[in-house]
């Protein structure tokens, strides 16, 4: 009798649970055409959390933070961990923390830029010091380490383009690495051009692009670029960052160098 009651109860509960699963499964299936495109569009615009990358490194606090929606705060705390590794000159710890930060929150551009600076400018110094210092190592080894880290930093920044397509600051950072660590002037020039063409680019990107053109002996191209740029700049008294007067002074310098006839010289509307 007792057994029959237990079996009956289990059967009732089982049937009830199965009915619920069946109904919710049907609803889930029916809502699939609504969910799938919404999820795909959302992932395109906002990268989903890379759980597989972070699950091994998470404590309870971080899990709670991520599930609770404090993604920005969790990433900031991980950034502190990366900085703690940076203070100890710990290449493995800093690299792991940087990867975690990118996996938890890839949206802030500052993480990518500063992470690349650690990889490209600081880590080669640590590696060289750990191997005995620049004075004791052959120049080829020092160059190899410097180049390898610069390329690693550029690779780190290129990953960011997935989340921030054509962000001018990423192009500028790559250009600086190419210029300062890899002596690649044409490559740096191209990245400054790409940066300067973005509407959100800082004003200095366009000025540096012209300067790099000039350094390569392409004065005419630099002049044409600055002449096209100057009318788009706000007056210096309105926005000193735009440095419209400096741009005009460089135009005048290039006109002298190119020996342009007075009639064909640039005449600004606001002069």
């Amino acid at each position: 009798m007792m057994r029959r009651v237990v079996v009956s109860k289990i059967w009732t509960w089982g049937a009830r649970a199965a009915t619920m699963v069946l109904m919710l499964g049907t609803v889930g299936l029916a809502l699939r055409p609504l969910e799938a495109p919404a999820w795909a569009a959302q992932v395109r615009q906002q990268p989903s959390l890379q759980w597989r990358s972070v699950e091994g490194a998470m404590g309870q606090g971080l899990t709670l933070g991520l599930l609770g929606g404090f993604r920005a705060l969790a990433a900031d705390l991980l950034w502190l961990r990366a900085n703690a590794g940076w203070e100890r000159c710990d290449i493995a710890g800093t690299s792991a923390a940087l990867a975690l930060v990118a996996a938890v929150d890839s949206r802030p551009i500052g993480f990518w830029l500063n992470g690349a600076r650690m990889i490209g400018y600081d880590m080669p110094f640590w590696r060289i010091e750990a191997a005995g210092g620049e004075a004791t190592l052959p120049t080829a080894v020092v160059c190899h380490v410097t180049e390898a880290q610069a390329r690693a930093a550029i690779a780190h920044l290129e990953k960011a383009f997935v989340h921030h397509p054509d962000h001018p600051l990423l192009h500028i950072e790559i250009a600086n690495l190419l210029l300062q660590k890899l002596d690649d002037l044409p490559g740096a020039t191209e990245h400054y051009r790409l940066a300067a063409q973005q509407p959100t680019a800082p004003y200095y990107a366009a000025r540096i692009y012209a300067e790099l053109l000039r350094q390569q002996g392409r004065e005419r191209a630099a002049y044409d670029w600055l002449v096209a740029l100057h009318p788009t700049l706000p007056p210096e008294r309105e926005n000193p960052y735009a440095m419209a007067d400096t741009v005009l002074a460089r135009i005048r310098e290039l006109e002298e160098k190119l020996a342009l006839a007075p009639a064909s010289r640039y005449q600004p509307r606001r002069e």
């Binding site: 969910e35 989903s48 759980w51 709670l64 599930l67 929606g69 404090f70 990433a75 551009i109």
Partner: protein, 284 residues
């Protein structure tokens, strides 16, 4: 059997309204509502001072993210605890008996509890979103004053529309969570079990997309079957995140938010129907 008993009781929206009103007043008086609202408000206002902790992003975005995080975390806690207390408290204290002894259908009782609990969460969402908008406005005044380094700033000003639509999506999600908690509470024998199971459900729903991934790319048939089952049965709470709205709310993103809201509404109706059905089977 007299004539009155033989006539089946019809579903009454008026009775649902009365029950919802009582549930709302009861929930508002609970300390959990006052505590979570106060704590979230302090966190949102405090995010103005926490900006020193922002290392990677634009300051206004950090404040918006932090405020949304507080809304999501404490809103979830408020939804689960309030709903469990509203339903489980009545069941444990047996105060449900005099209510159901009156001409009240069980479906009206559950719908009343749902509307009452959701109304409390809606008030919470409105208060927190309004505070967040005010905090963003205060910071925007000082951040965007003066000349800028670029002709067009990345991210521009504060994401007011994004915060507003994000708050609305969270309100829809909390409605769905309320219905899910009612389903758990309709068969749970204790409040502790109902709360634990509800928090577990919340975690599962936030990680549902991983089950979907396992369904599509899993290695073994067991992984694919399990992933598919979880992916179909549980709603995807990550859809309601709305972080993409912070980058700017154009027509496409608002249409996306509308789709997500419709998704949440259908799931809410399904969970509510199951809660009613389950509660009708329950022996009280």
């Amino acid at each position: 059997m007299n004539e009155a008993q033989s006539v089946p009781l019809r579903f009454s929206c008026r009775r649902v309204g009365v029950l919802a009103g009582h549930a709302f007043l009861e929930a508002v008086r609970q300390r959990v509502f006052q505590f979570t609202t106060l704590l979230t408000a302090v966190l949102v206002v405090g995010s103005l001072g926490l900006r020193e902790l922002d290392f990677g992003g634009a300051e206004l975005k950090f404040i918006a993210d932090f405020g949304q995080g507080a809304l999501v975390l404490f809103g979830s806690v408020l939804t689960i605890v309030t709903t469990v207390q509203l339903l489980g408290g009545e069941l444990e204290n047996r105060t449900v008996l005099p209510v159901l002894a009156r001409p009240v259908r069980r479906s009206e009782f559950i719908c009343g509890k749902f509307l009452g609990a959701w109304a409390v969460v809606l008030v919470f969402c409105a208060v927190v979103t309004a505070l967040l908008l005010a905090a963003l406005w205060v910071r925007e005044l000082s951040v965007l004053a003066g000349p800028t380094e670029a002709p067009v700033l990345h991210g521009g000003g504060a994401p007011y529309v994004g915060v507003l639509v994000g708050g609305a999506l969270q309100a829809v999600k909390f409605g769905l969570l309320t219905a899910m908690v009612l389903l758990v509470g309709s068969y749970a024998q204790s409040n502790l079990f109902a709360q634990s199971a509800s928090f577990l459900l919340l975690a599962i729903c936030h990680l549902q997309y991983l089950a979907r991934d396992a369904w599509q790319t899993g290695h073994g048939w067991l992984e694919r079957l399990g992933g598919g089952l979880i992916g179909l049965v549980f709603p995807n709470f990550q859809l309601f995140g709305g972080e993409y709205l912070m980058a700017g709310a154009d027509g496409a993103t608002l249409a996306l938010a509308g789709r997500v809201a419709a998704y949440g509404a259908v799931y809410t109706a399904a969970f509510l129907a199951l809660a009613v059905w389950s509660f009708r089977q329950r022996e009280i």
